[in-house]
């Protein structure tokens, strides 16, 4: 499988009154054709800014300070704004968390799907309505020929997110970025939307970048996972390796802190709280909360160490040359 998208050294900075704050710090990853990459992180981890940076949609005071974004072999950072506009929607589409604010309240859903098509010259005014109905049917909206004339407020949250997906797939993009697409939805609706995304990915041969804070959603949807903390990808690898054999203490902590085990027993919480952008600890940003920290963690930023050819983590525990580190539990054979 070849790489559809390659990101290397992506760094996005916000120029705030009290100095620049690095929201995304040297992020590198790749997405293959037909693959779902789950980008998981908590608030302030930089996962949403990463998603916006890929489309060069970061607004001032934010700016992409460094990095390369290569899509189908083209360097997106070198494109003119007009060329970039042709990439957005047509090659890479974006689905937001809150479908109520992402849709325009004064246009019908049919008009909004039609606009996406016509901007990219995919259809005529007359053809747009027909195509909109076809797309609404594809995303399983019942009575699509009637619903096409509905305004967003006439639809439920789940139906609005289906409309967002219809707009996203309208121009047959190769990559869809979904930023917390189910966070605002109830759990049964979330399940339907995740099923729909999986189905669309299959039938349209899409690649998917799924941004979420929910490890359950990641486990159900992603082929590979990148875990972000304080602006950096701290671990990435195939979904099974991340869940079965996590290498970074943050990933391990997240998985261990989830409810489970005997009812009423204490959960294994991660100490402390997520650091604020602009006040990140030196060295590894996780070190003040890390149960395994040792000498170099507070002063040096760890490099990306390979655990297996497909699985890496930014943690000194994986540095074979460092002495005095805490003992790692044995790696289970899988």
């Amino acid at each position: 499988m070849s790489h559809l998208l390659e990101v290397s050294g992506l760094t996005t900075v916000f120029d705030l009154p009290n100095g620049p704050a690095t929201a995304v710090d040297g992020v590198s990853f790749a997405i293959r054709e037909g693959e779902t990459l789950g980008l998981v992180g908590e608030s302030g981890s930089g996962k949403s800014v990463t998603a916006l940076s890929l489309l060069r949609l970061v607004q001032p005071p934010g700016r992409i300070a460094a990095g390369r974004i290569t899509f189908k072999g083209r360097d997106l950072m070198s494109l003119q704004e007009t060329e970039m506009q042709r990439v957005r929607g047509a090659d890479i589409a974006l689905i937001f968390q809150e479908p109520m604010t992402a849709l325009n309240p004064v246009f019908t859903v049919g008009q909004q799907i039609g606009e996406a098509l016509r901007v990219h010259g995919r259809t005529t005014r007359a053809g747009a309505r027909h195509e909109a109905i076809r797309l609404l049917t594809a995303v399983r909206i019942p009575d699509a020929p009637l619903r096409v004339d509905d305004y967003p407020h006439q639809l439920s949250g789940g139906m609005r997110q289906r409309v967002m997906i219809a707009i996203a797939i309208a121009c047959k993009p190769a990559l869809v970025i979904a930023d917390e697409p189910t966070t605002a939805l109830d759990v049964t609706i979330q399940a339907e939307i995740l099923d729909l995304l999986r189905e669309m990915k299959q039938s349209l041969h899409l690649s998917l970048l799924l941004v979420t804070h929910d490890l359950g959603v990641i486990a159900e949807t992603a082929d590979r996972v990148a875990v972000m903390y304080a602006g950096r990808i701290v671990e990435q690898g195939p979904v099974r390796e991340i869940f079965r054999n996590p290498q970074h203490p943050y990933t391990r902590g997240l998985l261990a802190s989830m409810p489970g085990g005997a009812r009423g027993t204490r959960l294994r919480a991660i100490e402390g709280s997520v650091p604020l952008l602009g006040a990140l600890p030196a060295g590894c940003a996780f070190h003040p909360r890390c149960p395994d920290r040792f000498a170099p963690c507070s002063t040096r930023v760890p490099g990306d160490y390979a655990a297996t050819p497909e699985h890496s983590a930014r943690c000194f525990l994986l540095d074979p040359l460092l002495e005095g580190r805490g003992a790692l539990p044995p790696v289970p054979s899988s």
Binding site: D186, T188, E192, R240, S257, P259, R263, L267
Partner: protein, 292 residues
Amino acid sequence: MSLLHVSHLVKQYTRGKGLFRRGTTVTAVDDVSFSIDESETFGLVGESGSGKTTTGRCILRLVEPTSGAVSFNGENVLALNARDLRARRRDMQIVFQDPYSSLNPRMKARHIVEEPLIIHRLGDARARRERVAELFARVGLDPAHLERYPHQFSGGQRQRIGLARALALNPRFLVLDEPVSALDVSVQAQVVNLLMDLQRDLKLTYLFVAHDLRLVEHICDRVAVMHLGKIVEMGRTAALFERPQHPYTRALLSAIPVADPDAPRARVVFDPASADRSNALREVEQGHWAAI
């Protein structure tokens, strides 16, 4: 011995009512009955619009119910006049979901926690000072931060302030309305542990209102599942999660994303036609009720 007993609780809202228009009536809580034992954690789960939050607020009369009865410690809460209700509220408190909007941003943390003591005229300034410091330590906050404002605390710390305030009057019963769902995943577990510690140490009784079924399964002794204003299933947590009887409960449980890529997934889709909304709860096994 049950501490709280709710029977046939109904809350209706009227929409679009005008001088010459009758408006439409929406029944948010539709004939809900349950009781909670002393020191028990009772989970009320459901999706948005299920009526779970309204039920919690009706019990404290933050929302006035349309009809029904709520008895707390043998006393009819709905019959209390304003003065008696205020006195009774010392025993019944609530912690809200959003620690960002539920704390007054212009009050120092000390004052937020102290305020209930002032309202109920408890202790002199020195005694209150000591009590606030004690509460701060009890919920795991640094007493050195008493003079800070809410925005100077993280989300998890703010929820601890909300808890300290709720505990100020030594209540016996707490309504926890989605107490951790606005928090970061890595911080949720800390607050959940704190809630479990407080319950054990202070012998608290909890009504835990939540949509996170994984969490409800972990901390609740008994659970009621609400759907469109009605309880469709209720029972001991293990029985309800292992042997769900109502089609809606089955769909809800099957929709929980499992943090295991190899977990078997069998999605059950709820067909409203498969359940008769007029069915009353009946006991399907001891202590396990379903509206089927």
